[in-house]
């Protein structure tokens, strides 16, 4: 239903009946992911997870998971109260890169697949062109 809602909100969902459904199915199958939205969504989740994972050892006063080793990769990160905020920011950054990258690669793969399918269809269509001349 999501694509239909999107189309309806843009005033593009006006085609009635089966043709509309077929068009919506087509859009649902080939529509790309929103890269920035995916990046931000992953950023929020990863940032929150790292912040909460840091918060537990901080509250217990014991870095039982040796999370401080993440400071080797995330500059400034420590298992401390400021480290919770720094972890949130680093988690957001890494999550954003992962989410954006995932959406980018997925969209590129769909585009590549569509290009191959279209090329094959065109080849099939014109393969007997010389026979008709």
């Amino acid at each position: 239903m999501a694509v239909e809602e999107k189309l309806a909100s843009e005033g593009r969902g006006t085609m009635p009946g089966k043709e509309q459904l077929a068009r919506n199915d087509l859009l649902r199958a080939f529509a790309p992911l929103h890269r920035t939205a995916m990046g931000i969504a992953w950023g929020v989740v990863c940032g929150a997870l790292l912040a909460m994972a840091t918060l537990v050892p901080v509250l217990k006063g014991n870095d039982f998971l040796s999370l401080g080793l993440l400071g080797q990769f995330f500059w400034g990160y420590r298992v401390s109260w400021p480290g919770v905020l720094i972890g949130l920011l680093w988690g957001f950054g890494v999550g954003f890169a992962l989410g954006y990258g995932f959406a980018f690669v997925r969209n590129a793969a769909v585009w590549l697949w569509l290009t191959v399918v279209r090329s094959r269809a065109e080849m099939d269509q014109y393969s007997d062109l010389l026979d008709h001349l």
Binding site: E5, L7, R12, A31, P32, H34, I40, V44, V56
Partner: protein, 96 residues
């Protein structure tokens, strides 16, 4: 009305938040369940010494068969929350 190709270019997939939550919940839960039981079956002197540290986050979790079931439920909830938040944030921005 725009040509079909342009519609495809402008359309954006929206996610089903609840479905994503359930899927990630099952994946996360099954992952911890399998990893825990792998270590239980593998055996040894210190079974799951590192994985057992998860009990600091998930009270009641242990590297045993019963612990793997408890861990499944914990990770299901975590995955569910991750999926719902992921879907909600994505949809909010993609719709804007």
């Amino acid at each position: 009305m725009e040509p079909e190709e342009q519609q495809i270019e402008h359309a954006v997939i929206l996610l089903n938040e609840k479905l994503l939550g359930v899927v990630l919940g099952i994946l996360f839960g099954t992952g911890l369940f399998l990893v825990t039981n792998f270590l239980v079956l593998k055996g040894g002197r210190h079974v799951g010494a590192h994985l057992g540290l998860l009990s600091n986050f998930f009270p009641g979790y242990r590297v045993t068969f019963l612990g793997s079931i408890i861990g499944f439920f914990y990770m299901f909830v975590v995955g569910m929350i991750v999926g719902v938040v992921l879907g909600a944030v994505y949809n909010k921005i993609a719709k804007a």
